[in-house]
């Protein structure tokens, strides 16, 4: 009887594991599968996970159905600029917060965090009005421009970047910087040569997070982008003709972005979570 319960509980355990893995991975597999199906098979009411016939028709079609190349380029440029600015400004601020004690430090760091508790729509309406005003009064275009989106996204990514980087900087021993400064480094040089390299895994994780934040943004993109600055999510929404959504090309366009992101995650996972710090310092 004991043995029976043990076998049953182990069967139950593996059943739970299989369901978990299946639920997690099925939509991703489905995306790839549909992207490879010929149009006739797409709208079958008895769909199968393995395509009955494999075609790359949808992958060719995806580039013609919407300005996908333009959208991918736009999102990449905007994502990279956002990451550079958010990491640059964010790491300096995170360093200030984690190494200096000054009046109002707690107030500022709380204010940074508090912005995460506010709904995005609260900022969208006035930002839209402010951008319209800047355009009409100062003659600086803001809507439908790269700099408008980059400025908006990098600022919205800042609070998260600062908080993530603060926890990584806290793990870098102060004694290392002090040793560098005794040897003649200025504080900024110590930040650049000691702290940032040691916090590199944290920087990479934060950078990936910020990049994906900008890449997937929908609320501001739906108002601030136009034909020239169409971002990838907005291009996905456009995969439809007069009658219906073009699911095949849409899933092909989605797969082309999902697969590289997942691949980078799988490759970098050990690096991001691994301890570069372990063994680096004898304390």
């Amino acid at each position: 009887m004991r043995a029976f319960t043990r076998v049953m509980s182990s069967v139950g355990f593996w059943l739970v594991v299989i369901v978990m893995v299946g639920v997690a991975v099925f939509p991703l597999l489905w995306m790839v599968s549909v992207s490879l199906k010929p149009p006739a098979e797409l709208l079958s009411s008895t769909p199968t996970l393995l395509p009955k016939a494999v075609t790359f028709h949808n992958y060719r079609q995806a580039w013609q159905a919407v300005p996908l190349a333009r959208a991918l380029a736009n999102s990449t440029v905007i994502g990279l600029c956002t990451t550079v600015i958010a990491l640059g400004v964010g790491s300096i601020a995170a360093y200030g917060f984690s190494r200096f004690r000054f009046r109002g430090r707690d107030l500022f760091s709380t204010a940074v965090l508090a912005t995460q508790m506010l709904p995005g729509i609260l900022f969208l309406l006035p930002l839209f009005l402010i951008y319209v005003t800047v355009e009409s009064r100062l003659n600086i275009p803001m809507q439908n421009t790269y700099h408008g989106l980059v400025f908006t996204y990098s600022t919205f990514a800042l609070p998260v970047a600062i908080w993530m980087l603060m926890s990584h900087f806290a793990m870098v021993p102060v004694s290392l910087e002090e040793a560098a400064m005794v040897d003649g480094c200025t504080r900024l040089m110590a930040l650049r040569k000691i702290v940032l390299p040691l916090a590199a895994p944290g920087m990479a994780a934060t950078g990936m997070f910020v990049f994906l934040l900008a890449w997937n943004e929908v609320l501001f993109a739906s108002v601030l982008t136009g034909d020239q600055t169409l971002t990838y999510p907005m291009a996905l929404v456009r995969f439809r003709d007069a009658f219906q959504v073009q699911w095949g090309p849409l899933m092909a366009a989605a797969t082309m972005v999902m697969v590289p992101v997942v691949a980078v995650f799988l490759l970098a996972q050990r690096y991001i979570t691994g301890g570069l710090m372990l063994g680096a310092v004898k304390q």
Binding site: V17, F102, F123, P126, S175, N216, V218, L236, V261, Q283
Partner: protein, 306 residues
Amino acid sequence: MVSLVGSRPWSGQGTAGYWYILPAIAMMTMVHFIPAACSVLVSLLSLDVWYIARWWEAPFVGLKNYATVFAPGSLIGAEFWFAFRQTLRFAALGVAGTYLAGLATALVLNRRFPGRGLVRTIVLLPWIAPVTTVLMTWRLMLLSDVGVVNHFLVDVLGVVRERPIWLIGDNSLWAITAFYVWRSWPFAAVMLLSAMQGIPQELYEAADIDGARPFHKFWYVTMPLLRPVTVILLLLVTLWSLANFNVPYMLLGSAPSPPGRVLMLFIYNYAFANWDFSLGAAMSAVLMVFMLAVSLIYRRYLTQEV
């Protein structure tokens, strides 16, 4: 958190620190603090499409917009509170589902079994995959006539006879909730798992000596020690779900049927489709106050001793 390496964390004193945070604070002032103040100001005006380029000249109407939102008889007020209720249901179901699924997954992953590392990586995929790509996939999967979800429910399992319509009508709330749980459950699992792995093994050994059964160990040792991370996790997921926009927008479309029109989408449509910015700003302010209230309630639990 700060003194992880056993030395003092501070190395600088005085005003030098301000220079480091100045660029960040300046940017956030322009994009966060001034617009938030502007939003409150706009909610006190009567701003429509005619005043957009010179919005500060729009007539001041005081609390009239708030009166419209809170008036029990007004059509807009009724629509707003319906959207508010739908948002609460979405958040409550989404948070509960995310937490329970995350807890179950963390308990599974906390055991040693062959292939654990692989399973942990695979379970993280919903959280890693670009959200817009999987949203569009879910939309296809949830289609009534050719979607694989209905194929599975009707033809394979046979639990329902008629193919349900998921993306329009009452079921759309379930559709966005299901996606939301699928998306954020790995996050909950990872946070809970790392907290579980920090629980000292001696506590379980002591419980064993006292003759505790597995459930008692879970309930009296694991759960109390997971409390701090639970409060933070629930707070984050609650705030994210209340302010979520892209899930209903990409899954149901920009103007979904009322049951799927959560507050963010409702306000968005009100402001940018009807060009009634002031009413939209008043509604956003109500949502903001609600989210701040939620944060304060969680904060009380966070500061309470275990």
